[in-house]
Amino acid sequence: MRNPRVGWALLSPTLIILLIFGFAPFLYVLFVGFNQWNVFSADDGLVFNGLDNFRRLVFDDDFLHSVGLTARFAIFAIGSEVVLGFVLAQMLTRDFPGKSLFRIIHTFPLMVAPIAVGAIWRLLVIPGFGPVPFFLDRYFDLTYQIGSYPDQALMTSVLMDIWHWTPFVTLTMLAGLSSIPREPVEQAKVDGANRLQVFWYVTLPFLRPVLLTTVFIRIMDAIRTVDEVWMLAGGGPGTRFTGIYIWRVVFPRTDYGYGSSISLITLYLTIVLCWLLFIAISGRRKGEVE
């Protein structure tokens, strides 16, 4: 009844597009990653240098520092977004007048382009210009300068990311919650489960695929972040994330070979991280169902 050939036919347009525009550039970057190549240098371009780029990378303090910063940024931002987004989505499944208005307002941040988000937040926090440092100084006697304090810059990027991307989590969670059949929930309530138990044993297992997807997407996008944070802090201390570092190596320094190898390592780290998460989450689900 279900011929695999039909399945492949349904899948093929997706695979073709991704092979051409995703995988082919990857092969190119993989090739260049093993070469030394300064794009604008006068001499003969690509020089094969084996693993030299990768050896250099291990001792590159700027790179290692950027990985640490990106990790902190991702953990703070994504942790808060998932919790907050879930709570908001749960609140949106209740019925109350004016719900759709709140939901629409809540999705507004998503619609602002990252460049504009960065610009607006920059205007909010520039000393002597934005209201945030002004009011913090006046009412709480706090010095707030993202240009001078790396921790403040990092936390501002995290807050900006939370503001911008929590609605994304809310929307995906809402899609997940809306596809949960009601029967098991009712059944669990009849069996005397309290709210927490219903959440843990019924809602969460159903929500797991959507939750996994959401966390994946957020991790990937947080690691790739460039434009938003760049606009906010201009690559100042505390915000030199890996995406921005690669950008600097490839463009201002035009060190394309080295930039490619950093990209490859970043890509590799992301894949490993996501794979572990994938195993952890989908493996646990299997155990529970059986």
Binding site: L18, F21, S100, A116, I180, D227
Partner: protein, 284 residues
């Protein structure tokens, strides 16, 4: 379950208090954007102030009367809408295939799909540039600086996301419903149209909205893979940030203007999310 009127009252109060608080937090930066868009350059550098002092519309009129702005806006609308539709269709087909057919290496393909979204964009610009200018060429025509190029390219990060999101939704639809429809004589398209699409509507709507928004907001590829004809609105935003100083007022005004189409799309598509929320009851 019956709740006393008193309890219901407090429940309403707490719900509204929560939402009004969240709405304020959401709106402060957007309010600030509105305030900045209605100030002159001189006013901006005065004492920091969150209040809107007067209605000053010159930033808006400068932006709106600009003919390149209108072209960019059209390009953005075409690219995002076409991309979102393409992604929804392809993702639905692919998800259905991954969910219902026993394909060799299914789990690996599923994971490989998402790795396409992970690539840090900076290093991938060069191969894409070469591909757009040299590989895809027919006489004088190249993929570079075309709407089609962006529409296809955005699939690289939107399709994996859409498939991953929809997979959970389609897996949640009992396969017995498919079988029942097939026994009633429905073919593949019948099953998709009468079973999968109605039941996956909220998931599809969310996928569509988010793909549209991702495409609408994308900057790096649009800035580097177009030059004149197919430039999108986000590249125009970046053009206000110049070496000699940023024109914050016009940047904010343009950001406010670009919010409008997104808001319309989202408001339109949200009906399907609501529809899905009530559908949940029918499902079992």
């Amino acid at each position: 379950m019956t709740t006393s009127p008193r309890r219901r009252f407090w429940r309403y109060v707490s719900t509204y208090a929560f939402w009004i608080f969240m709405t304020l937090l959401t709106l402060i930066p957007i309010w600030w954007m509105l305030v900045v868009s209605m100030r002159t350059r001189v006013e901006l550098f005065g004492r920091p102030n969150l209040a809107l002092s007067r209605i000053y519309l010159e930033n808006y009129s400068n932006v709106l009367t600009d003919s390149t702005f209108q072209r960019y806006m059209t390009n953005s609308l075409v690219v995002s809408t076409a991309n979102a539709l393409l992604v929804m269709i392809l993702a639905l087909l692919a998800t259905y295939a991954l969910s219902r057919y026993k394909l060799a290496g299914r789990d690996n393909i599923f994971f490989w799909l998402i790795t396409n979204r992970m690539a840090p964009p900076a290093a991938f610009l060069l191969p894409l540039y070469i591909m757009f200018t040299r590989t895809f060429r027919l006489g004088d025509w190249t993929l570079f600086d075309t709407q089609l190029g962006l529409i296809l390219l955005y699939c690289v990060f939107n399709l994996p996301f859409a498939i991953w999101l929809l997979k959970g939704v389609v897996d949640g639809i009992p396969i017995e419903l498919d079988d029942a429809a097939m026994i009633d004589g429905a073919g593949l398209w019948g099953v998709l149209r009468h079973v999968i699409i109605p039941l996956a509507a909220p998931g599809l709507a969310v996928t569509g909205i988010l793909s549209w928004i991702f495409a609408w907001n994308e900057y790096l590829f649009a800035a580097n893979l177009t030059s004149v004809v197919a430039r999108t609105i986000t590249t125009a935003l970046a053009e206000f940030v110049t070496v000699t100083g940023t024109n914050w007022g016009e940047l904010a005004a343009m950001s406010m203007v670009t919010l409008v189409p997104s808001a319309i799309i989202v408001i339109f598509a949200q009906r399907y999310i609501v529809m899905g929320l009530t559908f949940g009851a029918v499902k079992e």
